[in-house]
Each structure stands twice: as structure tokens, then as C-alpha cells.
Amino acid sequence: MAGGIKKFVVGTFDDEKVLFPAVKNVRKAGYKIHDVYTPFPVHGLDHAMGIRETSLHTAGFIYAITGTTTALTFMSWVFTKDWPLNIGGKPHFALPAWIPITFELTVLFSAVGMVLTFCYLCNLAPFVKKHHFHQRATDDLFVMVIECTDKTNDAEVQSFLQTAGAHEINVQHAETGWWIGRYHKEQKLYKEEKGY
């Protein structure tokens, strides 16, 4: 799925202590941060970038109560309506005996639902390919990507990033969405400009 080709200024940072004030300054200057790619979860970076809290856990809760209700209604229906079995003369509606399965289905629905939602929201799946602004974003660099609009002077952004403490700075034209592809084949949908 193509998200359209856009122009970006990319700057790399090698220390979180430099990255945080840089994020703050870039936002203050009015530039639009497309994303910051980091090799590990940097705590507080989402707040610094002004990203809202995720609601994934709420989704997890909804899946969980779906599991609880599914298990309870199904077992009640089977043992009281569809085929009531006499098990040692005990009550047909044997709620205490159903607690283990109800609990297991609650957990199962919640976990499976949350992981699928997570993959859906982050566009994660096998054979999904995305543009990677820097190969070392999964190794040791924090890669800040600033989106250029028609009004942006990219030379200005580049010098701004330099003063903010970025090391490698370049301009890239990139696809923002994802597409079906494999990583051993060069399948770029665009041409890259030479960086400095």
C-alpha cells in the first residue's frame, strides 16, 4: 500500500542526551517530525515528541471481556439448554467448575486480539517491506526524520539539525507506507538523492 513519496531530512544521533533537547528544539522551531527511529524503547521520547498515549491496553481489556462472555455463555448454553448432562447429580449450571476455562479463554482472547491489533496498527506482517531511513536505526543510532512540506527550506533544516547535534544528515525521498516485498531484493519505488 503506497503512502505517497515525500521528501525528508534525516539526521542521526548517537546519544539520548543529545536527542531529547534536539527533539524539543526541532518542535519549537515548527518543523514536523515524521518519526524518530530508535534501536530500543527510549522512555519519555513519545512524550517529548507529543505522541498521544496508546489505547492498545483498552483494546486488550475489550478482547478479555469478550473471552469471558464467550466462555460463560457457551458453557451455560451447552450444559443447561443444548445437552444437559447429569454428572454425579450435580447442578447443570456448575459455575465454580467453569472458572478455569473461563479464565483461560479470557487470557487467550485478550492476548491473541492484542497481538493482532498491534500488528495491524503498526503494519507488521511477514513479507511487508518499508523504507528504512538508516540501517543502523536498529543497531546504535537514533534517527530523526523531519518531513518537508512545500514551504520547508531543506538546507535550513539541515543546518538546524547540525547545530542540534546530529551527525549524519541527508535528504531522502521516500515512500511513507508499506508494500509487499522482500528484503533481499532492491525494490525501491523511488529514486534517492545523494546526501552530503
Partner: protein
Amino acid sequence: MSLLKYESQQREPLVDGNKDYHQVTEDIIRPIEMKPSLLWYIGFYISVGLLCFGIYSVYREVTYGIGQWNVNKTIGWGWDITNFVWWVGIGHAGTLISAILLLFRQGWRTGVNRAAEAMTIFAVMCAGQFPIWHMGRVWMAFFVLPYPNTRGPLWVNFNSPLLWDVFAISTYFTVSLLFWYSGLLPDLATVRDRAKTKFRKMFYGVASFGWTGSTKHWQRHESLSLVLAGLSTPLVLSVHTIVSFDFATSIVPGWHTTIFPPYFVAGAIFSGFAMVQTLMIVVRKVLNLQDYITLGHIEAMNKVIVLTGSIVGCAYLTELFIAWYGQNPYEWYAFKENRANLFSPYGWSYWLMMFCNVVSPQLFWSRKLRRNITVTFFMSIIVNIGMWFERFVIIVTSVYRDYLPSSWSTYYSPSIWEIGFYLGTFGLFFTCFFLFAKYFPVIAVAEIKAILKTSGENYKAKMTDLEKMDGEKFYIEEVEHGHSPVHAH
């Protein structure tokens, strides 16, 4: 560095050596990019050999029936269910490390969680084999699922602990797999982005699902991990509780006790940590990861072993006392004559269990022994043997002399195919583990990086210097403006 991230200097570093982020990647990913050693090939082929023997044993059992095993009407579960409970128990340590220690914010889990979770998944795979093939007519295995059928529909019995087990084990396997794999995604992306060969680019490209490391994705990933940990914590306790219900809800002397759920859970964690030790001591040596799985990690796990071993010991004594105090003649006979009497047919197994699980781990009260790798390795094997015998004692000594003396069966010993099936699951487990250690990062790379600047040896050393500064100045420099580019070192 905010206040929350500050870690006391009294704590041992979790990552030794002078590391930076790139060095962490190098150290952990390099073994994946190298040809495996001769030792790996030897170990792998032995495992595959065992697996083949196991497959043949199962083939015999399926073709000729359960009679290929020496189980009989009196001792119907024998080795098979002993092995099942043993393997499930081993799995529990992985979830404890990855979920419960995450909720308790134990930093040392990052060194061992990935491999321990893999161990969980493989152990549960092995465990699942035993009840399935024990069905005899295994092609009817799908009867345990509540699906609409043409026999009524006649549903499964939701009141039966054996069905609870079906749900518990399958949920446990699914959730552990999801938890493990979602944690692996960022690390697989790291391998992908370093890949030089075509195969690696393709394989890790597919496996990493197109992970980029976007801040929003990390935020969701953190939320996902936290909730999955919160779900796995009661789940792991429920799984062995339900396994213990297989016994505790029956009216067999020696099984019919309310102490079983906590006693089984403690035993499971105990045996699981022993298996983690066995694997980790080998892995850190072979893959050269002593900087990440330090003596501190091994000591921490030994502390869990001595704690859970003592809980298990307490449970053994409690059930013995209650068997006497309860004044039920059948219960007391099972404990006094079938177990505690050393000269009864299986008395030796009870005392072997007592020695391995209760007496020997007490050595770990000594710090010196907790930090001794050789002692730890041998102890981990002893504990695993002991915990296998615990399940053997529970299953066999409770039923071999039942209410009807004419059906007493004291000659039970496993057949070669029964042993072969057990060895086969070792083959399955180690085949999977060898492949995992070759193709996947055995340590959670991203998680190590996240704790590096608070718990790495070189960063802690820097912090010691900073602490010598004037208190107020330290607060302003490090805590308030911790993210400032103008920095004191």
C-alpha cells in the same frame, strides 16, 4: 537520566565490560552470522538422533497400542503423565522470568528472558506430546475440542479437570509463543539490517515483519509487553494449578489434598529455574556471553531455587503431617507405607526426591556456592532429577496399592518404548533449542540496550564519579537536566 532510572551503586552491574550500543549488537548477533562450531553439530545431531528414536517409539505405541508401554490398569499413568507434568513444570520458569519479573521490575531478567521463554515454548511442546499419545487412539484426539458434531451434538465435559488441562496448556502455549515472538521482532530486525547474505536478508526480512523502530511502534510494543506480562502472570499460576487439579479433584489417597495448587506451582518454578541454569551455563560459555549472563544472574536464579526448593520442602512435610493428623487410614497408609517406608517397593523414590529437592538445594544458602558455576550446574541436574521423581512419587506411589489389594501392582517399570518416548522429547526439546541458539538472538538485544546506561559496568563507574559531586549540583546536572547535551563527564 531521570530519578526512576537511577540504580544504586550497591547493585552489581548487569552488563560487564566496556560496552556501547553497537558492541551489544555485535556480541549477541555475531554467533548467528558465524558458522556453528563442531560442538554445535555434535549436539544437534545427537538431539536429532534422540528425536528419531522417540518418533519410532511413538510409532510402535500407535501401531500396537498402549500395551507397548508397561502401564497397566492399576498404574495407568506411569512414566507418561510423570513426563508430562515434569515438562510443563519446566516451562514455568520462562514465563516467571519474562512476566513476573517484568512486573516486579527486576533488571536481571533481561539477560536470560529470551532463552528462558524459548525454553518454555519447547518444554510445553514436549509436554503436550504425552497426554496426546497417551490417548491410544490418537486419531480421535480432536474429540477433546468442543466442536459441533453429529453425535448429538454431544459436547465435551466442561466440569472435568482433564478438559481444563486442554484449555490451560493450549492457551499457555499460544500466549507464550505470542509474547516471545513479539519480543523477538525488533531483534530480528537488527539481524536483518546487518545481514550480508541473500538468505539472511530474506529470512530475517520475512521474520521481522518489516519492523522499523518507530517511536510510536515502540510505545505500542511497550504497552503490549506490559499487558501480556500482566496476563501471563496469573496464566502461569493457573496452568500448574489446573495440572494439579488433575490429581487434587480425585479421591485417590495422596492426591486428594488442597495443598496441591501452590505446591505444584512452587515445584514448577523450582524445576524450571534448574533447567534455565543448565541451559544458560552452557549457552554463555559456548556463545561467549559471560558479560551478559553474569555470575550475578546465576546467583539471582540460585536464590529463586533455594526459595522455591524450601517451599516445596515445606509442602512435603505439611502433606505428611496432615496425612497423619487427618486420621484417614487410607491417606496415612499411602504416606506411611507407600512413600515414607524406605523398604516398600517405591520407598527409594520418595527419599531420592526428598534428598534432591529439599536437602541438596540448602547448599545455596552459601553465597560462595551460589556463585560457583560447577556447583550450580550439578545442582541444576540434581534438582531436575528430583523434580522428575516428585511427579513419579505422586503418580505411582498413590495408585500402585489401591483400595482393592487383588489389583495391587508392584512390578511397574517402564518398557523400552516408554523410555524411548521420553528420550524422544529430549530430542525434540534440544533440536529446537539448538536451532534457536543458531538462528535467533539468545539475549534480548533491545532490552539489554535499554538497561545499559543504568546497569552497564562502565556507566555505573561513571556514575560513581558523579555521585562524589556536591549533592545539589548532582541533582541539577544529572536529574533535572539529565538530557542536557552539556554534560559533566
